[in-house]
């Protein structure tokens, strides 16, 4: 058997579970209830002020979540990667450990804690839950890049007259951008489509794009649901294209 044949099971798997569902989403998105081709589902989204509003909220929450994750995650990754400040692997494990526990369970637990403390559920609690869930995905790629950063670049910058502050902004930050890019991809894309977090942490007071897709599909509005999913995929696709440093971003994950 030729070596290339070994990939057949994977190709079959991908065809059934990745390509076929995507095709189905497309087919449903461009059909009406009777199976005829139509653009109505797409145009309906652009005239549906409810859906458009939810979409805007989703984007806003995703952007806010991503920014907060960068603001908290970058310094955390920097400290973890700095051997003078962090001498043990324990801190790294502590940061990664939440990833071992199912996100849904963590979210439920977080909601419980807010209830216990009497904190009203709303946008604040939603962002808290999102940051809590997605922060490790931001820290890990940035940490990876920083830990591998050749210290001689930092010394060269100092040697050329850069203060530690300038070294950080002119060398460390630009050289760690691949890590930030891949962190952004890993945080932004899933937050656009999430619905469980908003369900538990806002009691569905704030609806996200993922929520309305779920609602449509739950109420058997297959075609409109598929159209919304399709639109979301396109948007996520666009963000991937915007992060032009894709190759480096992939390296950051290794």
């Amino acid at each position: 058997m030729k070596r290339s044949h070994w990939s057949i099971p994977y190709v079959v798997f991908m065809a059934i579970f990745v390509v076929l569902p995507l095709l189905l989403v497309m087919v449903y998105a461009f059909q009406d209830g009777t199976g005829h081709f139509t653009l109505a589902n797409i145009t309906r989204f652009f005239t549906d002020s409810d859906a458009l509003g939810t979409f805007a909220v989703s984007l806003e929450v995703a952007i806010e979540n991503t920014l907060i994750c960068i603001l908290i995650g970058y310094p955390a990754a920097w400290i973890l990667a700095n051997k003078d400040l962090n001498r043990s692997a324990v801190t790294i494990i502590l940061f990664i450990m939440p990833m071992w526990i199912n996100a849904l369970m963590r979210t439920l637990a977080t909601a419980e804690i807010f209830n216990m403390l009497g904190i009203p559920l709303g946008k604040g609690t939603l962002l808290f839950g999102m940051v809590y869930d997605y922060l490790p995905f931001m820290i890990y790629p940035i940490y990876n890049v920083l830990a591998k950063l050749d210290r001689s670049y930092l010394e060269a910058a100092q040697d050329l007259g850069a203060t530690p502050w300038k070294v950080f902004w002119k060398v460390t930050v630009p050289l760690s951008m691949p890590g930030v890019t891949s962190g952004v991809l890993m945080v932004f894309m899933p937050t656009v489509s999430t619905f469980a977090i908003s369900e538990f942490l806002t009691n569905n007071k704030i609806k996200l794009f993922g929520t309305i897709i779920q609602e449509n599909i739950n109420s058997s509005m297959w075609n409109y649901g598929a159209a919304l999913a399709f639109i979301m995929l396109i948007i996520i696709g666009i963000t991937t294209v915007f992060s032009d440093d894709n190759e480096n971003a992939e390296e950051a994950l290794i």
């Binding site: 910058a157 050329l160 007259g161």
Partner: protein, 464 residues
């Protein structure tokens, strides 16, 4: 500008430790303004540490570093008027050639048009004009090296520090760059401090060479001094090829080695004193005139080395010598040889025997070097007495297996002395033992160490 007498850098009694390991042990040296100084030594000798102390990336544990007479210990690297060319260049991959070179000038807020002028000038100096917009990762090693030199020079540092800058280049490129560096030094007139483990590079480039080993300075001098008059076996062995031999100074200007007596030019050693003798392989001459012949030998091997032939000969007295000559002599032929008095370099022996400090455990056992050794019954020395133990170099037993010895160690340094090897053993406890042996060992071999009881000469140490 030639080197002046004015000191630009002074290192005074500088020591540096990394944990328990002493990397620099009381180093003192000065560097004159405009000089090309090379710190030369094998890896781990402390040369890079010395450079990093000067550049400010490390701080000395003891001693002080002066720039123009002012202590600079508290000044961070980014405020020191030095620039470094790093071993692996360390060019910023996110910036192009122009931006890399302009990096330092932009930090100093030099006006943009001035920056452009200076970058262009320095690119011309390193023959890299027209490469401004290139991505640094698209350059060859030699080109990256030039950019790294340009990036350092554009800031007009008082001193250019170079940390093995040519180590990553191939031989031909290295030779070309050596010449260019030397010319740049002449043209710019600034002080160069250069670190290398390549003795040939040091000889080619430097005004002054500082030979270092095990955290200590072995010798400071011009390339010619260092080559012709090494002060000890380490320097003689490290710089160039040499025959290092045990000798005995008969009296002024007369030295005996390889069981022959020779005239030499050294004086002041005293009479009948053991010494080490260095003769460079190119300084042993062949002759057909019996009147000039000082000793005879048989050619043992003869290898063509390009410019010269390298021959090993066995002398009539049983020593092996290396000779380099333009003419080959057939293997097996008997030859007559002589050495000019000028070409014999006599050196003080650093030591003539091993001396250890120890303590008696009981009548027939002594504790030293982190082990307990058997000795002959000692009269007048009680258990618990502090003692001095002496043993000759040839009386150290080296064993193939570490566990067979009372203590264990590793072959740290070895010298061939014509008819035997002189080894430096570093024990697991960090002590040195010197050994003369006919057995062949390699550097880094792990050995067990033992002494025969009769070979240990024990005397009571005065409690001082």
């Amino acid at each position: 500008m030639a080197a002046t007498e004015e000191h630009i850098i002074d290192l005074k009694h500088v020591s540096k430790r990394f944990g328990d390991k002493v990397v620099l042990d009381d180093i003192s040296l000065y560097i004159r303004k405009g000089e090309f100084v090379t710190l030369l030594g094998p890896s781990g000798c402390g040369k890079t540490t010395t450079l990093r102390l000067i550049s400010g990336f490390l701080a000395p544990d003891e001693g002080e570093i002066l720039l123009d007479g002012q202590d600079i210990s508290g000044i961070p690297p980014y405020k020191r008027p030095f620039n470094t060319v790093f071993q692996r260049y360390a060019l910023f991959p996110h910036l192009d050639v122009y931006e890399n070179i302009a990096f330092g000038l932009k930090l100093q807020k030099v006006p943009e048009d001035e920056i452009e002028k200076r970058v262009k000038r320095v690119l011309k100096l390193v023959s890299m004009s027209d490469y401004e917009d290139r991505d640094v990762e698209s350059l060859s090693g030699g080109q990256q090296q030039r950019v790294a030199i340009a990036r350092a020079l554009v800031n007009q540092p008082k001193i250019l520090l170079l940390d093995e800058p040519l180590a990553a280049l191939d031989l031909k490129m290295r030779k070309d760059m050596q010449i260019e560096l030397k010319e740049m030094h002449k043209k710019l007139g600034i002080t160069f401090i250069y670190v290398t483990h390549d003795q040939e590079e040091a000889l080619t480039l430097s005004d002054t060479i500082v030979v270092m080993n095990e955290g200590k300075i072995q010798q400071i001098g011009t390339p010619i001094d260092i080559y012709n008059e090494p002060v000890n076996c380490f320097v003689a062995d490290f710089i160039g090829e040499s025959n290092i031999l045990k000798g005995r100074m008969m009296h002024d200007r007369r030295v005996a080695f390889i069981k022959h007596e020779f005239d030499c030019v050294d004086e002041g050693f005293g009479e009948d004193v053991p010494v080490d003798v260095v003769v460079r392989p190119e300084d042993i001459y062949f002759t057909t005139d019996p009147a000039r012949c000082q000793f005879k030998a048989t050619v043992n091997s003869c290898i063509f080395k390009g410019v010269h032939y390298e021959m090993w000969v066995d002398t009539d007295t049983g020593y092996e010598l290396m000779i380099q000559d333009y003419d080959p002599y057939p293997v097996g032929s008997e030859v007559m040889l002589y050495i000019d008095p000028d070409d014999i370099q006599v050196m003080h022996k650093e030591r003539t025997r091993n001396v250890f400090e120890g303590e008696m455990v009981d009548e027939t056992h002594v504790e030293m070097l982190g082990g307990v050794f058997e000795c002959l019954p000692q009269e007048g020395i009680a258990a618990g007495d502090k003692v001095r133990v002496e043993t000759k170099f040839e009386h150290v037993d080296l064993l193939d297996h570490q566990e067979d010895g009372v203590i264990a160690g590793e072959v740290h340094f070895l010298l061939y002395k014509g008819d035997h090897y002189h080894l430096t053993i570093l024990t697991d406890d960090g002590d040195h033992i010197w050994v003369d042996t006919n057995d062949i060992w390699d550097k880094g071999d792990l050995v067990g160490i033992n002494f025969a009881p009769k070979d240990l000469k024990i005397s009571k140490r005065d409690e001082a």
